[in-house]
Symmetry: C2
Subunit: 308 residues, 2 copies
């Protein structure tokens, strides 16, 4: 059983979609990553920060799933990071209505001793300086460091972002952001350019159009499962990252061939995440449901052509 | 060796992309479909019409590939259908600059006797009345009838289109057009609605994002091969249709499992088509290149997760 260290936000989200809206519910990158990763036999620790307005039941949720939250700092008198967003009708774009950093503004991550030798480090979307600080605190080089980021950091902390990207193995990023980061429209060329920045692997996420895994000249693709209805895309990318990193950590096999499986597991879990608001579906998810959908994934993608 | 009957345009195209532009070159749906299908061991006949401005060398091109053009009518004194288009920078959208129907305006398709018992009928994008006329002339019900269409006919001949859709087995259509035809945003729901219109199979083409094959509750997905550069998307959908129908006709196996392979072959050939202007790449294509890329398709999509 491998060890997975996650850094990222633990937050309140308020979400509006064409299908309804929520009050403040559990959200944040580390939340989705952790819940997804906990579907695999892996020791998972989360580094994050919340205020003392963060409900005990949410903390219990992590604990029940065996997630180590000893490095989830609760700031007395502080308020938890809050994001409010509204999705457009096609669910492919959204407007951010409110961002309150709150306790996140002064977040100084502390890697717990027990996780300084983690096999896999998953750096969720956060300021690149925080991501760098986690890498610097590791007692030994992890087998693999995965980093997720977004356009906000390219616009506001590009130098710091490029510095941390130099130190990682896998960059996960969405298609538009890959284009912004590299200046290449072709995703094949974008991946090649990402390789010159440091990472040996690039996962380019295309939302409802699936995800591409690049390594050298090799490429693997996993579609998103076609769903009758996408209800709430919030956290889909983080759920993917949780499935990807959790599977890698649980198998302790960082080969490209195994990374293909990790991409499929990530896509599979993300297909559940979007079926309900926030973490609702991830929390209720049963192992049998996951297995059943993996069979659907196989039927969706596997064919049998005799090759010469 | 099965028999494939194709109806569609044989045309002159003039194309402008960010990479360059062409004078009048060989184009048209039936052209791309026929050239793609001729990669398989199949008896292929094309029904279409051109003017006497259509060069002998193009006619020879079809003949050299064993395509029966006895039903390719040459109208004395007539001018060949001409389309001119300009692609935008991302190559995902284009403006039509010129459409001259010419001899196509009075096209009355005549199914040659030798093809009245074709196993597969591929109805390329054309007025639905022409598509219907071909079906009506068949001496026996083909094993499978495939129809490709576009939004123009939904806007201008919807009743006629719905009439012919009732009579077919497979509808191939792009994602936006599937949404327009059905009023459903979800492609899963769109496919289900298409099934109520007649077809038992729906292929929804998503351009660079691949193609989905639906049948009942089953779905199969083939990605587009990620390319460093797409040079000219003209004819990609028709090339797909040619690979799809040509493979089905050559195997004489119309099962859903075999249709998956047909989708892969169609996607594979389309990945070549977009590498050069018009039919240039299809014409120069070697069997070894096709096989090599099928191996790439397998590496791109096949994974090996142990399922319970």
């Amino acid at each position: 059983m491998g060890k997975l260290l996650i850094v990222g936000t633990v937050a309140f989200d308020a979400i509006e979609t064409p299908f309804g809206q929520t009050d403040k519910i559990l959200g944040g990158a580390a939340t989705f990553i952790g819940l997804a990763a906990s579907q695999f036999p892996v020791s998972t620790g989360i580094i994050s920060v919340v205020g003392d307005d963060f409900p005990e039941e949410y903390l219990d949720l992590f604990k029940e799933r065996g997630i180590d939250i000893s490095a989830l700092e609760v700031v007395p008198g502080g308020k938890t990071f809050f994001w409010k967003g509204k999705y457009h009708n096609d669910l492919n774009s959204r407007d951010t209505l409110v961002t309150e950093l709150n306790v996140l503004a002064d977040f100084d991550p502390k890697v717990p001793k027990a996780y300084m030798d983690a096999d896999v480090v998953m750096l969720g979307n956060l300021h690149p300086n925080i991501q760098m600080s986690v890498i610097d605190q590791m007692a030994k080089r992890p087998k693999i460091i995965i980093l997720d980021t977004m356009n906000f950091w390219m616009d506001n902390a590009l130098d710091e972002l490029l510095d941390v990207i130099k130190k990682i193995d896998v960059l996960t990023i969405n298609d538009e952001e890959a284009r912004q980061l590299t200046g290449e429209y072709s995703l094949v060329k974008a991946a090649q350019k990402i390789f010159t920045m440091g990472p040996k692997y690039a996962v380019i996420k295309k939302g409802e159009h699936g995800a591409l895994l690049f390594h050298g000249d090799a490429v693997f693709f996993a579609p998103a499962l076609p769903l009758e209805e996408v209800f709430d895309p919030t956290g889909a990318g983080d759920t993917f990252a949780g499935g990807f990193s959790g599977y890698l950590a649980s198998t302790e096999n960082m080969s490209f061939e195994n990374m293909k499986n990790a991409v499929v597991h990530g896509s599979n879990l993300a297909s559940f995440s979007v079926e309900r608001f926030g973490t609702e579906r991830l929390v209720s998810l049963k192992r049998t449901e996951i297995q059943k959908r993996l069979h659907q994934f196989r039927a969706l993608t596997q064919f049998d052509i005799e090759l010469q």
